[in-house]
């Protein structure tokens, strides 16, 4: 039982990180119907910015978190303006290839500047652990992950449901043309969406850095794909769906590597994805849309 709870806690911390990344995917997909493959790399950049802040500028955890979130959101806006905006009316596949090109660009530019080596993240939070139960260990990193995730989710819910920008975002995602006719500046809304999604990815990057202790330029690829799986699992374009999807994928993955074979943990996320797509393609919280002729 204790082992199960331990695995559950580990799964929840991994899942929170997936959820933070998945939110960016789901928001961008909801608005411009683009699988933003570069999103996983923005998360990687977030981790590197945090690394620089902590190691070279000697900043604490929270200043580093905020700086990395701001840097990532600016990066997100720039990427959207340069790469995705000219292709807004192009085919889906052209936009997708562009996203892949941006992803390669970010990965290899980081590799060029910072080197391909795996770097050890500075242990800024110390090595404090708690024992809420016999045989269950919660460390300070996990508590920070939960706290940061919950705060960011609350802020996001507030932005999306209580502010004007959030209202505009929801309007654009439900019908872009109609929103434009109502006088909403869609370009601005898309920029906001990229900024918010990228900021969340940046936060996830720094959290992963302190949790797993290592970062490298290609670290964004697999978590990026899994976060996308999480977004599809919860119903793409739906914000609570990304949260549920991320946490579910994280918990299942941890359970599989804990009780089964850790070699299969990467396959599990994709197996879940295929099952979801076959049984309920619109995702857990998605509504079925009828095809019209």
């Amino acid at each position: 039982m204790a082992e199960f709870i331990q695995q559950l806690i580990n799964g929840l911390s991994l899942g929170s990180i997936y959820a933070l990344i998945a939110l960016g995917y789901t928001m961008v997909y909801g608005i411009i119907k683009l699988i933003n493959f570069a999103h996983g790399d923005i998360y990687m950049i977030g981790a590197y910015v945090g690394y620089i802040c902590i190691k070279y500028l000697n900043l604490g955890f929270f200043p580093a978190l905020i700086i990395s979130m701001i840097t990532c959101s600016l990066l997100g806006i720039i990427i959207e303006k340069i790469a995705y905006k000219p292709l807004r009316n192009a085919t889906r596949i052209a936009a997708l290839i562009t996203a892949i090109a941006v992803s390669l660009f970010l990965e290899y530019t980081t590799m060029f500047i910072a080197g391909a080596t795996v770097r050890t993240y500075p242990q800024i939070l110390g090595n404090i652990t708690f024992k809420p139960m016999e045989g269950v260990i919660v460390n300070i990193q996990q508590i920070f992950i939960f706290a940061v995730t919950i705060v960011l989710m609350t802020v996001l819910q507030f932005i999306v449901h209580k502010t004007k920008v959030g209202k505009a975002m929801r309007a654009v995602s439900s019908d872009k043309d109609a929103a434009q006719l109502m006088g909403i500046n869609t370009d601005k809304v898309i920029s906001y969406t990229f900024a918010i999604g990228s900021a969340l990815a940046g936060a996830a990057g720094i959290l992963v850095g302190i949790y797993y202790n290592t970062i490298n330029p290609l670290m964004g690829m697999l978590p990026g794909l899994k976060a996308f799986v999480a977004a599809v699992f919860g119903g793409i374009g739906i914000i609570p769906g990304a949260l549920i999807g991320g946490i579910t994928i994280g918990v299942i993955e941890t359970m599989v590597s804990g009780y089964g074979s850790s070699l299969y943990k990467d396959a599990v996320a994709f197996a879940i994805l295929i099952l979801v797509l076959l049984i309920k393609p619109s995702g857990l919280l998605g509504k079925n849309t009828r095809e019209k002729v």
Binding site: K33, I35, A83, P86, L87, A90, T91, R92, I93, A94, A95, L96, I97, T98, I100, A101, V102, L104, F105, E107, Y108, T109, M111, F112, M221, L225, F228, V229, V232, S261, L263, Y264, D266, A267, A269, F270, A271, L273, I274, L277, L278, P281, E291, V293
Partner: protein
């Protein structure tokens, strides 16, 4: 009336003759260059990569460009082909085993294609892309875990090398011919109509699932052949070679050449190989330049180099001889 019919037949046979001669000439010239030692090892490797990429791109173009089904899992089929052929030729080391290996590779990849295709091809657009991506990753992870057969993460080494320029050329040309004829057949027309409008083609009686799966399976079949040729040429394979990035590479060739243009895929395979050879000297910067090039091409020419047009040699020759016959053909 009779005269114009004769003219038509003669243009057609003329066209075939020209194509045939060009095919033979290209083979002969390259073979001669290799024989004389003008084409060094380095360029031979590039040449092999071009041929393998042409097979992969042309077969993916059938699925993505002509049938409109967005697949990101082509590397998975290539991996199946590569491992099948490698395991067979490692066990029975003979030229016959190599031929059997290639066909076993293609057939096994096609069978997996059926199994994968029937459930997933119900999905559309991005969902299909992500499902095929997931399946290819699962194939790769399974290969990684069956290490008694496949050597796991270490990979399979010392595979007998049978692939040479002749085999590469034979398979590349046959892939192009088979897929070109498929596209020009009524089945191929059905596939193209699915790309244009699924609902409309369904309402004129085209069995959507059947043709989608058919295109997918043919694509998988040739990807299996490409994998087999790859493993037998480079005599070392590992699961990491067939990851998601490999599928992306193939898709990039198809999109760059133009979706729905076979000659575009061929052109793009050659072009990318040349660019990549040229950029070799830049080492780390290579991938950055590649990414920027890709970005610029997508921004300024999203339909690819050729769009849906085809380039044909005989057309050029005929234009010079008798331009009025062009419209008849």
């Amino acid at each position: 009336m009779k005269l114009s019919k004769n003219a038509l037949i003669s243009t057609k046979s003329n066209k075939k003759l020209i194509n045939f001669l060009v095919i033979i000439a290209v083979y002969g010239i390259v073979q001669l260059l290799i024989f004389l030692g003008i084409l060094g090892d380095y360029y031979q490797v590039t040449l092999a990569m071009i041929c393998i990429n042409i097979i992969l791109a042309v077969s993916l173009n059938l699925v993505t460009g002509f049938t409109g089904q967005f697949s990101l899992g082509h590397a998975g089929f290539m991996a199946i082909g590569a491992y099948t052929c490698a395991i067979i030729t490692k066990r029975y080391d003979s030229p016959l085993a190599f031929i059997i290996g290639i066909f076993a590779a293609a057939i096994l990849a096609a069978i997996v294609g059926v199994l994968v295709g029937i459930p997933t091809l119900r999905l559309k657009g991005d969902y299909l892309a992500i499902a095929t991506l997931g399946l290819a990753e699962i194939i790769r992870i399974l290969i990684l875990n069956f290490d008694s057969f496949t050597g796991g993460a270490r990979g399979l080494g010392s595979i007998p090398q049978y692939t040479n320029w002749t085999w590469l050329y034979i398979f590349t040309i046959s892939t192009i011919i088979v897929i070109k004829n498929f596209i020009n057949s009524s089945h191929g027309r059905a596939c193209i109509s699915i790309r244009e409008d699924e609902i409309a083609s369904e309402s004129v009686g085209i069995n959507l699932t059947r043709y989608k799966v058919l295109a997918f399976v043919i694509g998988a079949f040739f990807a299996g052949i490409a994998g087999a040729l790859y493993s037998s040429y480079f005599y070392y394979i590992k699961p990491g070679l067939f990851d998601f990035m490999k599928s992306i590479d193939i898709l990039v060739i198809v999109v760059l050449g133009g979706m729905g243009s076979l000659t575009g895929s061929i052109l793009a395979s050659i072009l990318l190989a040349i660019i990549s050879t040229y950029l070799q000297s830049f080492a780390e910067l290579r991938m950055i330049i590649y990414a920027i090039l890709l970005l610029l091409i997508m921004i300024f020419r999203p339909q690819g180099l050729m769009g849906t047009k085809e380039f044909s040699l005989s057309k050029i020759f005929n234009k010079k001889q008798a331009p009025h016959e062009n419209s008849a053909s």
